[in-house]
């Protein structure tokens, strides 16, 4: 497994960065869609390497961050239910909802458990037949297939106490919504690597076609990202926007058919609410009729008070690429990873956390 070093070779990276800068006729604005990319860019200092010619804006590709307070509040209400064991990926635990967080509910006696995969949650359901085990389905096209298969597994094994609260979201529709709003002028988009491993490159084709915006699918190592930026700059400078794959070792044009089929067998698309963006049609996944007795939303219909937003937090603007964490007056003072106010400071893929933890050293 020596291959990783190839994607971190400093010489190649420097040459590539120089080549990119030479090719830029003007300042180019790119959005790195995925939170994983924001982290990698900060960690390796790629923004420094490419500035000022290439501007990199973070996007809405952090599943925890885009979850609306309304949906967080419902999850919290579920966790308070005395018969429920709420299982979730760890990041969700500390995210503040309107009034409290899952972590606080757990401290108050709610049964909230961190799992590393939905399979673990099925296992908990198997071991606790007297309880209702709800898995909090957060994520994009990447995690949705694994959660779908956990539901099929539960059904095949007659595990009747396993439920999923599906808050899954889809990437191409939110890209469309951002482009439609015209709020940020983008020249190109760094498309997500792991999501594309599932959906392939075709779902992005409307972006260059209808909006004239360049697209390149990127992996998570520095060279993966630089390679994708190079492709984008080339497309932009030659005025030939397209969808290219810079992450060949991870992504095929047609994606992963098996994963797609599993996903479609359990979920169907529906409108979903995104933090800072609002309701976007056909941008979420709900559970199909056939699996409705596993749908936590339907089975428990958690009641919540009207959601309220965190005062002063500009996560929504950051997720739309309109502002950066540095524009938030709470950043680094009132809001830190230890005392987070918004989800972008909690999630390991959140822009505020990435800026805070891996920020460039600028002498401050």
């Amino acid at each position: 497994m020596k291959y990783l070093d190839e994607y971190r070779n400093p010489m190649t990276a420097k040459l590539l960065a120089e080549k990119i800068l030479r090719r830029c006729g003007r300042t180019i604005r790119l959005m790195e869609f995925c939170g994983g990319h924001t982290v990698a860019i900060m960690k390796h200092g790629l923004r420094q390497l490419l500035s000022p010619r290439v501007e990199l804006l973070s996007g809405p590709g952090c599943p925890v961050c885009v979850t609306a307070n309304r949906d967080l509040d419902k999850a919290i209400a579920l966790a308070r239910h005395p018969d429920v064991i709420l299982t979730t990926f760890g990041d969700m635990l500390r995210v503040p909802g309107s009034r409290t967080s899952l972590q606080k509910v757990r401290a108050e006696g709610g049964d909230v458990r961190i799992v590393y995969s939905a399979t673990d949650a099925v296992e908990i359901a198997r071991n606790h037949p007297e309880k209702s085990v709800v898995f909090l389905g957060i994520g994009f096209e990447t995690t949705a297939p694994t959660i779908a298969s956990s539901m099929r597994e539960a059904q095949e094994n007659n595990i009747a106490n396993y439920y999923v609260h599906s808050l899954h979201k889809l990437c191409p529709p939110v890209m469309k919504a951002l482009l439609d709003s015209g709020e940020t002028k983008l020249d190109g988009i760094l498309c997500p690597g792991h999501v594309s491993a599932v959906i392939g490159s075709h779902p992005y084709e409307f972006i260059p076609r209808d909006y004239g915006v360049a697209c390149a699918i990127a992996g998570f190592e520095p060279l993966d990202i630089l390679l994708a930026v190079e492709m984008l700059v080339e497309q932009i400078e030659s005025q030939r926007p397209a969808v290219e794959i810079a992450y060949r070792r991870g992504v095929k044009a047609e994606g992963n058919r098996t994963a797609q089929e599993v996903l479609e067998s359990v979920f169907e698309t529906d409108a979903a609410k995104w933090r800072g963006i609002g309701v976007i049609p056909a941008s979420g996944l709900t559970i199909r009729e056939k699996y409705q007795n596993m749908d936590a939303e339907r089975m428990f219909s958690p009641a919540i008070d009207p959601p309220v937003e965190q005062k002063g937090c500009i996560c929504g603007d950051i997720l739309r690429g309109v502002r950066t964490p540095y524009d938030c007056s709470l950043y680094g003072t009132h809001c830190t990873p230890e005392q987070p106010i918004g989800p972008c400071m909690v999630s390991s893929e959140g822009a505020c956390a990435a800026y805070y933890l891996y920020g460039a050293y600028d002498g401050r």
Partner: protein, 334 residues
């Protein structure tokens, strides 16, 4: 049927007695323990280092070690990081009812082996059995006493500008080896935990130089958190270079997969030292001769800039802040 720990094993009666005699005293046999007095008594001369730690780990057995080995190494290493020569340990077990005796046996054996290697003697102990569900299988506490040789002052607050920062070997092995065993995350890896007693390594370092200002083992929170502690307590800046920090390939691959940064992954057999730069080379040479320091290297320096902060030059030549770990390390969702 498999023999299991019963509540009666903790009741103080015959079963308790047998448990101690057969499962603990047997393997751990030494004159101080055998005296079976309420306290072990012994003489010590010099400055004393004294520490304690409790060990809870899932799973109890992992590639490269188990909770027993961890419980000895952890306390031995804490003593060693004060420059002390570890001497005596206490061992306290909290066992969940139903715990298989066979496993207990294996863990005590491993404790004995590790203690032997580290040349420490377990002189006091205690066993409690709790109701099922009141503990997760087995918790261990060890406390340790060591003697600090004359002329040695090692503390996290004594790093000086100009000192070299050294690391004893590749980071992240323990954390990733443990994670590879987690249900639902289990992935194939040839990786083993680096869990090891570091007292001989520290001994070798101190033989060639006394200009060792700080020592710390980067356990939970990883290298990043340890360096931040040193920078904070000594009120100095630390500048490190990514290129010089060794990371084993399987750790790197797993970190890419999970979205982790190896700088934050736990170690159980590594140390970070802050040493006078003039002595760095000979200290590194002495470490390289020890099996637990064979890839020791200078990874950075103590600087006057940015006191309290750790800054890293990345492989690409850019610089970034390396902060403390906040919360748990969690795999990425996206």
């Amino acid at each position: 049927m498999e023999d299991k720990i019963l509540l009666a094993h903790g009741s103080g009666g015959k079963l308790s007695h047998d448990l101690v005699k057969d499962y603990l005293l047997g393997p751990l046999r030494n004159p101080l323990l055998e005296a079976m007095d309420d306290s072990a008594t012994f003489e010590l001369f010099g400055r004393i280092a004294f520490t304690t730690d409790s060990y809870v780990v899932t799973p109890l057995f992992f590639p490269g070690g188990d909770i027993g080995k961890l419980a000895v190494c952890g306390t031995v290493n804490d003593l060693s990081m004060a420059g002390a020569v570890p001497k005596y340990l206490s061992l306290s077990l909290i066992i969940e009812e139903g715990f298989p005796l066979l496993k207990l046996n294996k863990i005590i054996d491993s404790i004995q082996k590790t203690a032997e290697e580290a040349r420490v003697v377990i002189v006091a102990g205690d066993t409690k059995v709790v109701n099922r569900g009141c503990a997760d299988k087995l918790f261990i506490n060890t406390a340790g006493i060591g003697v600090i040789p004359k002329g040695i002052t090692i503390s996290a607050a004594t790093a000086k500008v100009g000192d070299s920062v050294i690391l004893s070997g590749p980071i992240g092995d323990h954390g990733i080896a443990l994670l590879s065993q987690r249900e639902g995350l289990a992935f194939e890896t040839t990786l083993a935990s680096d869990c090891a007693p570091l007292n001989t390594l520290v001994g070798d370092m101190l033989t060639v130089s006394h200009k060792i200002n700080c020592l710390r083992d980067p356990t939970r929170g990883g290298l990043a958190s340890t360096l931040n502690e040193l920078a904070g307590q000594s009120r100095v800046g630390i500048a490190i270079e990514e290129e010089k920090i060794p990371v084993n390939e399987p750790v790197r691959a797993a970190c890419e997969l999970l979205g982790f940064d190896p700088l934050y992954v736990a170690n159980e057999g590594k140390l970070v030292g802050v040493v006078a730069s003039g002595d760095a080379e000979k200290i590194i040479d002495s470490m390289k001769k020890n099996r637990y320091g064979s890839s020791a290297a200078v990874i950075g320096a103590v600087v006057a800039d940015h006191p309290g902060k750790v800054v890293m030059k990345t492989r690409l030549g850019t610089t970034r802040i390396v902060d403390m770990l906040t919360g748990e390390l969690l795999p990425r969702i996206c």
